[in-house]
Structures are given as structure tokens and as C-alpha cells.
Symmetry: C2
Subunit: 188 residues, 2 copies
Amino acid sequence: MQNTLETIKNIYPLKEQHLNLLLQELSVVELPKNHLIIKADKVERSLYFIETGVARAYVDGRDNRITFWFGMEGDIILSYHSYVNNKPGYESIELLEDCLLYELKTEALEQLYNTHTELANWGRKLAELILIKTEESYIGRLFKPAKERYIDLLQTDPLLIQRIPLGHIASYLGVTQVTLSRIRAEVR
Amino acid sequence: MQNTLETIKNIYPLKEQHLNLLLQELSVVELPKNHLIIKADKVERSLYFIETGVARAYVDGRDNRITFWFGMEGDIILSYHSYVNNKPGYESIELLEDCLLYELKTEALEQLYNTHTELANWGRKLAELILIKTEESYIGRLFKPAKERYIDLLQTDPLLIQRIPLGHIASYLGVTQVTLSRIRAEVR
DNA sequence: TTCATTTTTTAACATTTGTAAAAAGACGCC
DNA sequence: GGCGTCTTTTTACAAATGTTAAAAAATGAA
């Protein structure tokens, strides 16, 4: 569980004692490619650390399906919207490869938050870190055209593009696959 | 401080004792329209509760300036990017009206987080709530065309549109002011 | 009120992106 | 290897949005 352990430790430094409380709640899960691990319109009661594999989150519009997040080793699968409100979320998360995951039930997590200041701060930091990542995607998307964002993606996550169908990447960049093809023809 | 008090209480229920610890750290600030309260590329050391007034956050691109957030009574002005990383942020926040604000120094807040589980959980909830709001804007923006988002805005914040120049709203919706004008002509 | 300034709308044209459909390429499976 | 399926690219055309500039409307100060 190398990747998951690193992820947990990097969020907020924890004493051995508190780290173990968290680790005790994890259980390993193996799931195949194409499995739908988070379902829109359903209340979710777990989060998952990605030990190996790739996933994407998407929302369905009236006549389109838009990918807005990719996760890989070291990332966390979590519908915050569902978790925070304890209500159905609007996004679905689908595995794009066979995945090895560590599951953590949100109820257990909530319990830890209420009883240990250190873990409450770990949870705060987790939310803060995801928040600034979300803000960054949001803002990056606001003022960079798709072509630039594609080039950024090539540089920051060159491996991702190898592992994910272009249709999903086009959706992530906010253009049609035809337009992404045109961009790729230009950049090449 | 009616609005600010409500805001604080609504984030996470606090006992009188912990609420007071937080309130003790607030100080009132009055600032005029057009004041730049958060500056891009500067490390920020405070957050502000908006008691009265309106503000907007924007980022500067190479040849454009994009508004991505509006705040009014009950909202919080905070550069999470700067606060979490303790590094300069990329956004600026400008007051669009004369404002009455309550300032809270992040250093004092950090201190409270480290010493009180309840306040750490308040801080967690704060980050979580802002996160899901950010996610909602992000996702809403992804799959709704500007026209729909304008109609949404009309319904959810009819007052906002009265208080804010259309140029900022166009920027917020991700279109030029000319396009927003066309949308308004259609909707009317 | 009147004038100057700012904000909003309208117009004409250029550019970008989308749509639909077909062609080309990649891949696994028997 | 050959077949079918899925992914990616290309093409022609349509639709939406941007750019630039000017006109109209609203706002604020003297």
C-alpha cells in the first residue's frame, strides 16, 4: 500500500498513533475496468485511495457526458458533494483500468474527526488541498484556451494521455473530439 | 454583525465557548468601493467576512481579466490558494461597493485549529462547503451554455445582477460582453 | 438641466468550434 | 491471419462566438 500510505502522510503529518487509527479503517478492494464506483443520484458512504489504476469522474447533461476529473495512483476517489451534504451527488466515477483501491467508510472517518484534533486537522487539510486543486482546474480552464490546456496536460501528465481515450480528454478540455484532433494536428 | 454571526454558526454548530474564541479574534474593517483587498502574487494573512457589500475575485490572463467569483452579505473573502500553501495566490479580490467586513488573521485561526477539535472541525466544514460550492460552479460551467447559466443567475441571484456591471458578469459567464448582450436580447 | 463619462446594445464581418458522416487506424479475439 | 469493434482523424458545411467600431442609453457631477 505504498501509494496510499504516501498519500495519507502527505496530506498532513500524523503521529504513528493517529496514522494507525486511520489505517485500521482501510480495507482493500479490487475492481475491474469499467466498474462504476460512484453513482450519480446515490448517497455515497465511502471514499477510496487509488493504489493502482486510473479513474474518471463525469456528469451527464441533457445530451452530453462531460469528464471533469482524472485520478490515478495516489489520488482519492470521493464525491464531496454527496459526502458533505449526505445527499445524492451529481457525478459518477468510472474505473478506466483494473484498480487496486483502499476503501474508507465515511462514517468511520467522521467518528475519527470528532474524537481526535489531529485527525480533524488531517480532514481539514484534505478538504483544503482538494479545494485548491479544484480551484486551479477551474481557473485554468477559465482563461486558457483548450489548445494551451492540452499542451499543459501533455507536460504535466504525459502518461495520462497514453492511458485514457481521447474522447474523455476532449471532454475534459471542454471541446469535442473533432476539435481535439484538430489541436493535435496543429501541435504535432 | 448579524450576517457574519449567521455565517459562522451555519458552517458548523459550535458551543458558546468555542464560538466566543472565534469571535474574539474578529476585528471590524470598513473599506471603500474599488479597494483591492486581496492581491495576486502576494501572500495573504487574513480572511474577511462580508457583513455588507459586494466583491469579486478575478485572475489576469495575458490579454484578459476574468471574474470567477462574486461575494456578498454572508460570504467569505479568502484566498485559499495563498492560505493553504502560504504562498502568493493567483487571484485578486476587489470591492464593488463600500464594504463592512470582519477580519480574521489566519495565524490566529491556525492556532485555534491546533488546540480545539471543535474548531478544527469548523475549519474542515468551512473548506468542505467552499469546495462543494466551487465544484458546483465548475461543473455548472462545464455543461451548461452561457445562456442557461445567465438564466440560472437571474433566478438564484437576481439582486447581484443589479449591483454588478455587466462586463463582470459576462466575464463570469465566460463570454464577451457583446455575447451577453445578445443573450439578454434573446431572453427578454 | 446639461455635459461628460461610463455602460450597454447593435451591426458587420472574421474566426472558431460544432455536427454529421466517412475514412483510416488500432486492437483484441476467434 | 482475418474479422469486427472501437478509437482517431479528416472533410464539408452549419452555427455560435469573437472582434472592432459605432450608436444608444444610463449615470453622475457641475
